[in-house]
């Protein structure tokens, strides 16, 4: 009985140690990614809510067409609802892209050439999607 209990305790210690090792090894990058993904969504939601406040304040109609990226800044300067709602959507689309960029930097720091190359390809694909039809 005592031996069994000691055995269980030993296993529990082993699991805890392993868990600490797993967590410790990958802590930094994971934390950073967590904050980027969460932060991106939060900023997007905040900008969108501001856009809806503008709709109410200016008693404007709800916009049903997004603002093309090249005319976004003039719209933001004029505080149009369409401008801010589009900006919120664009912030959200950009969030995973920023995450990929951070992954690239993290692999570069580790001098992991294979993964720098692979992350680079993903980043190029994302840039292609941005500039292909714009």
């Amino acid at each position: 009985m005592i031996a069994a209990r000691a055995g269980i305790r030993l296993v529990q210690h082993r699991i805890a140690a392993l868990r600490r090792a797993v967590v410790g090894e990958v802590e930094d990058t994971n934390r950073l990614i967590y904050h980027v993904l969460r932060g991106g969504v939060l900023v997007s939601v905040a900008v969108l809510l501001f856009g809806f406040i503008l709709v109410g304040a200016k008693s404007a109609a709800l916009p049903d067409h997004s603002v093309p990226t090249r005319s976004l800044i003039p719209q933001l300067v004029e505080f149009t609802p369409a401008g801010f709602l589009s900006l919120g959507v664009l912030v959200l689309i950009a969030t995973p892209m920023v995450r990929v960029l951070l992954s690239l930097l993290s692999f570069a720091e580790d001098r992991d050439r294979t993964y720098v190359l692979m992350t680079g390809i993903v980043l190029v694909n994302l840039l292609i999607s941005v500039f292909l039809l714009a």
């Binding site: 994971n30 967590y34 969504v41 997004s66 709602l85 689309i93 995973p96 993903v122």
Partner: protein, 286 residues
């Protein structure tokens, strides 16, 4: 329906999409696209564009928590994202070119397939555990095998990734469907990673969720640049999904996923049939 009613209904639907999506490891697009086209009478290409935005929101919200809890295999995700992003860009370009009826048919088929994959068997600890033998050369070269901590079993599982080539191919297909139909493609990637690549279910769900955001971003901007994103609809979807995922990731820790999954599977099957019927209506049969 007045525009305000449409927006409120959409926010509610997005809330449930976010809740179910984060909970079941899917993006929620399989639910949002039929809801927008069948209930809110939104044009299917605009519905796909709006859904993609919702998919990014679900993925970013849920994935962040999984990454923090070390369920996500970041290397495996990076490797497969090469395939999913190429697939997604191709899918979006195809969607812009083909007539709407084709999208309805493809969506109906894909949603029915998703419903079938939802009804899956619970994984045992034995299946999670490490198998011996030599790793495939590519897996070794890319260092894809990993470890994760299972909250439920209070145990660390080391796992070996198998069949990287097949997984890469299936991921490209998942990316294609994501860009084409505005879904996350988790229902394709999760079974592929679990059955083909032998990644434990929880790690597969977390890794799939992580990849979905980047995959959807690769096609979302193509739709945006074509003026297909309605900013008001997209905004309501983001806000609804954001609220839903926050609740969903909290629920995931305790509730019985199997029950929810079964109800969701039946629900998806009904949506798939409804989309197929709509496609028949388009071609003049019904």
């Amino acid at each position: 329906m007045s525009p305000v009613e449409v927006l409120l209904l959409l926010a509610l639907a997005a809330f449930f999409a976010g809740l179910g999506g984060s909970y079941l490891g899917i993006g929620g697009g399989v639910f949002l696209v039929p809801f927008m086209t069948l209930v809110l009478a939104v044009d299917i290409k605009r519905a796909i564009a709006t859904s993609l935005i919702g998919v990014i929101a679900t993925s970013s919200g849920a994935a962040s928590v999984y990454v923090r809890d070390h369920l996500t295999n970041l290397r495996l995700a990076m490797f497969l994202e090469v395939a999913t992003t190429i697939g997604a860009i191709t899918g979006a370009l195809v969607a812009l070119l083909v007539p709407a009826v084709f999208l309805y048919v493809a969506f109906g088929a894909v949603v029915l397939y998703a419903a079938a994959t939802m009804v899956r068997v619970r994984e045992t600890a034995k299946e999670r555990s490490y198998r011996g033998g030599a790793e495939p050369a590519l897996v070794k070269r890319l260092n894809l095998s990993s470890v994760y901590f299972d909250q439920e079993d209070q145990a660390v599982y080391r796992y070996r990734v198998d069949r990287p080539g097949a997984g890469f191919g299936v991921s490209a297909a998942a990316g294609l469907f994501s860009g084409l139909l505005g879904v996350g493609g988790g229902f394709i990637k999760v079974p592929a990673m679990n059955i083909l690549m032998r990644v434990p279910m929880k790690a597969a769900v977390a890794t799939s969720n992580f990849m979905i955001g980047v995959t959807a971003a690769a096609s979302a901007f193509i739709y945006y640049s074509q003026g297909l994103v309605d900013p008001s609809l997209a905004a309501m979807v983001i806000i609804g999904v954001f609220t839903g995922t926050n609740l969903g990731t909290r629920l995931l820790v305790r509730a019985k996923a199997a029950n929810v999954r079964f109800v969701f599977a039946i629900f998806l099957a009904v949506l798939g049939i409804a989309m197929a019927v709509r496609a028949l209506g388009f071609s003049g049969v019904v």
